[in-house]
């Protein structure tokens, strides 16, 4: 496996809902082990694009490959190799932490022994040991998000897609969450993350900024700041988003 090979590559990816073009011909590549920040204002089309990459939504036109498979014809193969954490918390509230881990581990075909080992390791790392038998619905939001991330990476996916993972989470937990992301990236997992926090964008290896369904800027944070002559990613975002014609 080559360090610089593209894990995600997308050509002219477009999604239309009736006359509304949510994603308008975007093209980009994400390399193995990168933390790729997928930025954009509300309604810019980030979630729609991400759903196409995860095999939840068919593109209207254009093509893409994730982990070596075609997003239209081989989406079930992609699903074995990716993890996904949606914007809405979507683990089972009425199951315990351990039961959720067992459920998804089982679905990804991990052996019961392996699930247990990883569960113990994960719970230890998250500081969740004592909550293993707590129902997920009773956990505070920050904990839920960390758990959702743990479940999304349980089967050691090649790529993990995170849709606003830190929305509504306190700064301390946000910090811890990014440590988890770094750990996963260091282990070779490619991270594809959307966020509205521009300080988080500074942590990414590369970022893209979407405006009205198109990618307006793509590069390392340092590169982009130089090119657009701004001090921070935050300023860059404001500069580009000002031109947006649509909002949520």
């Amino acid at each position: 496996m080559n360090e610089h090979e593209a894990v995600i590559s997308v050509r002219e990816l477009t999604k239309r809902f009736g006359t509304f073009t949510a994603v308008d011909g975007i093209s980009f590549e994400v390399r193995r082990g990168e933390i790729f920040g997928f930025l954009g204002a509300n309604g810019a089309g980030k979630t729609t694009a991400m759903r196409m990459l995860c095999g939840l939504s068919y593109p209207t036109s254009g093509s893409g490959r994730v982990a070596g498979y075609d997003i239209v014809t081989q989406s079930e193969c992609i699903k074995r190799r990716i993890g996904y954490m949606s914007q809405r918390f979507s683990l089972y509230d009425d199951l315990t932490v351990l039961e959720n881990i067992r459920l998804f581990g089982g679905i990804y075909g991990l052996a019961p022994g392996a699930i247990l080992r990883r569960a113990v390791e994960l719970l230890g790392r998250l500081g969740f040991r004592r909550e293993a038998r707590t129902r997920v619905g009773a956990l505070p939001l920050g904990w839920k998000q960390k758990l959702a991330f743990a479940v999304a990476t349980l089967h050691r996916p090649e790529v993990v897609f995170l849709d606003e993972p830190t929305g509504g989470v306190d700064p301390v937990t946000r910090r811890q969450f990014w440590e988890l992301i770094y750990e996963a990236a260091a282990g070779g997992t490619t991270i594809f993350v959307t966020t509205h926090y521009m300080d988080e964008a500074e942590y990414c290896s590369r970022v893209s900024i979407m405006v009205d369904g198109r990618i307006r800027a793509l590069g390392t944070p340092a590169e982009l700041k130089r090119r657009f002559a701004v001090g921070t990613v935050d300023e860059l975002f404001r500069l580009l988003a000002r031109g947006a014609t649509r909002s949520e």
Partner: protein, 367 residues
């Protein structure tokens, strides 16, 4: 296979952890079985009758006595003229009027006898028509008795009707298998639909859709629990029918459970498919109500299919409960066997495959 077990484990845990569902599944059928057989009876009793007796003979008095003594009638009075009786009918005081003409008794011996007239209030169609028929029967019976006492036989003696399989025409015995079917329609149709659409509303279905889980496995894991629940409920209500109403199935319980298993699978497939097509609870509920209404009213559960118009009878052939209703009544009351009912079993099997195939195919992980 292991994925299926993992998913089933999840479904059962969620079911038993739900504060509401396990209770509904037990209490709802018990309530229905304890209450409804007593109230849904088409045996009409206590029909209010007024008699207009112009004859005042021994025969007419005998008829009046018989009406007064019968449990089916409440004699509201003997009126002097028809107008007075009609006013009471219009006031809603009485349901039916029996008018015995003048010289009724004497005319009976003649070649061309006078005949009684009966007027019934048709607003309550069932009570009116049955009331009229019962009155006519009482008059006929009285005349037969009188003739018998005189040592004669009436030339047109009424034929003897014997009701096979339900000798006393106990309406409850007719209703109980129907209630079992209604329960299965409700529970096994609604519960899977609400379960799946609940996952849609909670957003958890999305997490499932992004995993490599096979859609047939997922569908099966959603359907199997309700299959079992349906059969457990059926067992429960069969026990109630036996203990409370003394109604044991004439046919083999195995054949009953086989038919029920096929039917329940059909219903839960329908519920699953409807939930796939709807985006929220309200939509699911309305569409399911539509199906359930049609199933209950058109499948011969309450009114016989044979008395429906031709086109409607044709329509009932595509309704799965129609076959189940026929099979259940035959199994429960007549002691039919699977061999007798092979058409019904084949039809139910086809419906089960069709509905579940549709359910699994309409479930899409990618749109």
């Amino acid at each position: 296979m292991r994925t299926l077990l993992v998913l089933l484990d999840k479904e059962f845990r969620q079911f038993f952890r739900n504060p509401f569902l396990p209770r509904v599944v037990i209490i709802f059928p018990l309530m229905i079985m304890f209450v409804i057989p007593w109230v849904t009876t088409l045996d009409v009793r206590h029909i209010d009758v007024a008699v207009v007796d112009h004859d005042r003979s021994q025969t007419s008095r005998r008829i009046v006595c018989k009406i007064a003594a019968s449990d089916y009638f409440t004699l509201r009075g003997v009126e002097a003229d028809y107008g007075a009786a009609l006013r009471r009918l219009e006031a809603g005081d009485v349901d039916a009027i029996l008018e015995i003409p003048d010289r009724f008794e004497r005319s009976l011996a003649a070649a061309d006898p006078e005949w009684v007239s009966i007027a019934a209030n048709g607003v309550n169609a069932l009570k009116g028509s049955l009331g009229g028929q019962y009155l006519a029967a009482v008059v006929g019976e009285t005349l037969a008795e009188l003739a018998c006492e005189r040592g004669e036989t009436l030339p047109n003696a009424a034929p003897i009707v014997q009701n096979r399989y339900n000798p006393t025409l106990e309406y409850r015995y007719y209703m109980i298998p129907a209630l079992m079917i209604m329960l299965l329609v409700m529970l096994c149709g609604f519960l899977p639909a609400l379960n799946l659409v609940g996952e849609k509303e909670a957003g958890t279905i999305e997490q499932m859709n992004v995993t490599p889980v096979n859609r047939w496995t997922f569908a099966l894991a959603k359907l199997i629990p309700f299959w079992l629940i349906g059969l457990v409920v059926l067992g429960l209500v069969m026990i109630v029918a036996r203990v409370v109403y003394g109604l044991a199935p004439e046919g083999s319980p195995g054949a009953i459970f086989l038919a029920a298993a096929l039917f329940v699978f059909t219903m839960s497939g329908l519920g699953f498919g409807v939930a796939n097509g709807s985006s929220n609870m309200q939509q699911t509920m309305f569409v399911m109500f539509f199906f359930v209404m049609i199933f209950i009213l058109m499948s011969g559960l309450i009114t016989p299919v044979e008395s429906m118009p031709r086109w409607a009878q044709g329509l009932t052939r595509v309704l799965p409960p129609r076959y189940f209703v026929d099979a259940m009544r035959a199994l429960y009351l007549k002691g039919a066997t699977i061999a007798d009912l092979w058409v019904e079993y084949v039809a139910l099997t086809l419906f089960a495959l069709l509905f579940n195939g549709w359910a699994a195919l309409s479930y899409r992980k990618q749109r």
